[in-house]
């Protein structure tokens, strides 16, 4: 999986992207967030307030129940504030 982070999610984690092998038992966006948060440190901070984290899979907005697959590009970011 290719993971991308934007805005304060990126700042807290300390990187804008990384490649991660999908862990066993991680089949949804929500499960991926739980696994990332469990890494602690900046990841813990970034996902502490999950109500304010949004996700996209392959560049489309998705909800927490959306499946994740090995080849997906998965992005995490705050609610958007463009326009």
């Amino acid at each position: 999986m290719k993971l991308l982070y934007f805005a304060w999610v990126r700042e807290r984690i300390g990187t804008s992207s990384e490649d991660v092998a999908r862990p066993d038992g991680v089949n949804t966006v929500g499960e991926l967030i739980g696994w990332l948060a469990g890494r602690g440190g900046g990841y813990g901070e970034a996902f502490a307030d999950q109500a304010h984290v949004r996700a996209a899979v392959n560049q489309s907005h998705v909800d927490m129940a959306h499946p994740v697959n090995d080849e997906d590009e998965i992005a995490f970011f705050p609610p958007v504030t463009g326009g």
């Binding site: 991308l4 934007f6 805005a7 304060w8 996209a56 560049q59 489309s60 907005h61 992005a75 970011f77 705050p78 609610p79 958007v80 504030t81 463009g82 326009g83």
Partner: protein, 154 residues
């Protein structure tokens, strides 16, 4: 047409290009968003716009296609900038041209409402306490939600 760019755009040139040579257009509605100084907060000035290259273009194309499907439009345009922006700078331009003025107005309004809640941009504002990420506004979600119940006609 959609464009995501760091450089500024010329409003008159962009709008004229939309209607040039198309005499089916009876009305052209446009909206420009500008960086404003917060009243009473002289310490808030410039901002930096971050975005998600690739997804941004996809999101804007989808919003444009939805507007095209919903109203009888002759042309649409979305230009969104990223990077460093100062007060008074243009951030975004959305425009819709149609034979009919109601369609032009509603489609233009729809474009900016959906762009605000779906296009992956994030504003980092300069403040006296340092840079601060702008919070999303509930009123923007409400502005998007109303299109689900509004009739799409003229």
């Amino acid at each position: 047409m959609i464009r995501v760019q760091e450089q500024d755009f010329d409003l008159g040139t962009e709008l004229k290009a939309m209607s040039a040579g198309n005499t089916s257009i009876g009305g052209l509605c446009s909206f420009v968003g500008l960086v404003r100084d917060m009243a009473g907060n002289a310490d808030i000035g410039a901002m930096t716009l971050e975005h998600y290259p690739g997804m941004t273009e996809r999101a804007l194309e989808e919003i444009e296609a939805e507007a095209m499907a919903r109203w009888p439009l002759e042309a649409t345009l979305i230009i969104h900038r990223y990077g460093r922006l100062e007060p008074g700078d243009q951030i975004v331009l959305v425009a819709a041209a149609s034979a009919h003025r109601e369609a032009a107005f509603e489609a233009c309004h729809y474009l900016i409402d959906f762009l605000k809640t779906r296009a992956p941009f994030w504003k980092l504002e300069d403040t006296a306490d340092g840079p601060k990420w702008v919070d999303a506004r509930a009123s923007d979600d409400a502005a998007t939600a109303r299109w689900a119940v509004k009739s799409g006609g003229e």
